[in-house]
Amino acid sequence: MDAILLQLLNGLDKGSAYALIALGLTLIFGTLGVVNFAHGALFMIGAFCAVTLSKIFTLSHKASEPSGVDFLGKPKYDDILYIKDWFGETAGAWMLDWSVPLSILFAVPIMLAVGFVMERGLIKHFYKRPHADQILVTFGLAIVLQEVIKYFYGANPIPTSAPEAFRGSFDFGVMLGFDPNAIIYPYWRLIYFAFSALIIGGVFAFLQFTTFGMVVRAGMADRETVGLLGINIDKRFTIMFGIAAAVAGLAGVMYAPINSPNYHMGMDFLVLSFVVVVVGGMGSLPGAVLAGFLLGVLESFASMNEVKNILPGIDQIIIYVVAILILLTRPRGLMGRKGVMEE
């Protein structure tokens, strides 16, 4: 029982990442009808926003007064961080510690801007082209973004740490009345899950309860009619693209402490996220979220030793097996609507 609970928890953080990326992909697909292969790259750029901010925070200059002598007898100058100069000793230290959560503020405008530029500069010209062309051009864009990041940050993963307060793990089992040490779970992963639930809830609420969201939903259902009503639906869809990019970026920012960002993390997640989207049903937002969590949890269950003993290697392929089975038995995925992508 406790082992099952542990795997469930383990599946949640990966599932959250899948769900967030798949949500963004579906937003783009549902509004603009574009298959965006560069979405994984947006996730990666988000993670590198966190890296960048912590790099900015660690910029330093030499102190003017020597603090002592080093082992060669020369005067030693301490490195002083600029943020400590500007915000004071304690606030500076706090900001450095909390650089990952703070990067959320930093990442949102950047990701929105990246999204707008991408949509206006490139994707716009591909609405009328076949899906194969869209896949190909965004695939090219993904390569370019990935290589640009590699050029500036190198090919090695860059460890980025969560705030001190969330760095440890806590004993979840004791809370539920199991033996101590049965279910140990890192705080940050729980935060990640809560954060993604918040974002997902936010996106749904935005679409459901605001006028803007209502117009966007109307546009998803029938773009032409909304356009004929005198609403500039293109502009709203562009904004939705920006929001989708921001969702992917935030997923990346918060994922940085879980998995050190490297330049190909986007591609690694992209393939799985596409599988998630297809399993959930193209164009269905709840489907994407459901499938994301479902596949994340299934993946972690498959990596239990008990399962692996019966079916060796199942943890490596479970997602694909499930995807193939679902695609063959339920052609529209779990919650796909009729008539989407069925030309």
Partner: protein, 402 residues
């Protein structure tokens, strides 16, 4: 070759000439000169040209004709490589059984994957093939280690049984005794040309593959595949089951991929799982699109283009750049090099990505379409002609159906 039209026969002849003379044509610069680094006429690279040419030709039969975009073709390449290496381990170092088996195994594999994947079309098909390929890749790395030797990759060793080989049979890949990497070098003054056995074996096989692809393109079967691409629904409504046709195309292209994998292993008896990764599948898509999907020559051009620039661009480093621009004033030189630096050497993929985007945006027909457009510019005169002449010119200039 009777049934080829004159034009196709000419095309085949040109390709045959180019591949046969490649060791000379691709070495236009004297060895030892500063430009020698642009030479591509050494066996290793030329083999890759033709092998990936085969791969792309096969992919084009599926994607170019039926429009089904497979993102998992590297799986067949990998399977072909593995089976070829196993043949060399078990039977003989002669490459013939290895290549034959790689084609057969890849064919069987593609029957299974194709049968399942082709139940869906569009992006679902792409995702299904991608899922199968990633599955094969992951399995090759983990559970199937006894067969694939995991991360190390499958290699031949002296203790392998090789039941067909006698006691003093050669211990290197060979074709009835002729060593694959045996080569003769001819020197003409400052130029030196290398002719290798392996390259010519690959080249002959590629010509054969190219010939078969011409026949497929011109056959009623090829016409049926094009019909599937332009309107599959209509084909279904006329009471025709398109599945056997698409499946046949899928299996043919899978066998081409297996052939390419087998040849890769025959040139260098080593097979690793990374050949099956989805980036490798992406590469063949790039080659086909870059050259021109649905054209006969396009995939070969694309494969050659990408492999050539991959090789050349990744060799250029800052020292080479300084050598080129040394005639400029220092400041300008450094600035120019700083601008170019991210695109060459290790940054070659950046150039590839940009190039690929540009091609998809501006030249959806690839290099072949680019060539046709340039050709049309030179014939622009026709537009100013009188109406009768203009009609004739329009007829003449309409791009052929390929």
């Amino acid at each position: 070759m009777q049934s080829l039209t004159k034009k196709d026969f000419l095309l085949l002849l040109v390709v045959a000439f180019l591949t046969m003379a490649a060791p000379i044509i691709l070495n236009p610069f004297p060895a030892g000169s500063g430009l020698a680094q642009f030479n591509a006429g050494y066996p290793d690279l030329m083999q890759r040209f033709v092998i990936f040419g085969i791969f792309a030709i096969g992919f084009n039969i599926l994607f170019g004709l039926t429009g089904y975009l497979s993102f998992g073709h590297a799986a067949f390449l990998g399977v072909g490589s593995y089976s070829a290496v196993w043949m060399m381990k078990l039977l003989s170092m002669n490459v013939i059984p290895a290549i034959l088996l790689s084609v057969i195994v890849a064919g069987l594999f593609s029957v299974v994957i194709g049968f399942v994947s082709l139940r869906r079309s569009g992006i679902y098909f792409s995702i299904l093939t991608l899922a199968f390929a990633q599955m094969s890749f992951n399995l090759a790395y983990s559970v199937l280690t006894p067969i694939t030797n995991g991360e190390t990759g499958l290699q031949i060793s002296l203790s392998d049984p090789r039941i067909l080989d006698g006691a003093n049979a050669p211990s290197y890949p060979n074709l009835f005794g002729a060593q694959m990497n045996a080569a003769t070098t001819l020197d003409f003054g400052a130029w030196s040309f290398t002719f290798s056995v392996g390259y010519y074996l690959c080249a002959v096989i590629m010509l054969l593959a190219f010939y078969i692809s011409i026949r497929v393109f011109r056959s009623p079967f090829g016409m049926m595949l094009r019909a599937v691409k332009s309107n599959q629904q209509r084909m279904n409504y006329t009471g025709l089951n398109t599945k056997p046709y698409t499946l046949a195309a899928f299996v043919i292209s899978g066998m081409y991929a297996g052939l390419a994998g087998g040849l890769l292993a025959a040139m260098d008896p080593l097979a690793g799982a990374e050949r099956m990764q989805w980036t490798a599948s992406g590469e063949v898509v790039l080659m086909t699109i870059l050259g021109g999907a649905g054209t006969l020559l396009g995939p070969v051009l694309g494969a050659g283009f990408i492999k050539y620039f991959e090789n050349i661009f990744s060799k250029i480093n800052d020292n080479v750049l300084h050598g080129w621009f040394s005639f400029m004033p220092d400041g300008l030189e450094d600035m120019l090099i700083a601008v170019i630096h991210p695109f060459v050497g290790k940054g070659w993929h950046l150039t590839l990505g940009l190039l690929f985007m540009l091609v998809v945006i501006f030249l959806p027909g690839g290099l072949v379409e680019g060539g046709q457009r340039i050709g049309r510019v030179f014939r622009r005169k026709d537009r100013n002609a009188g109406s009768v002449e203009a009609d004739a010119a329009a007829q003449r200039n309409t791009p052929p159906a390929e």
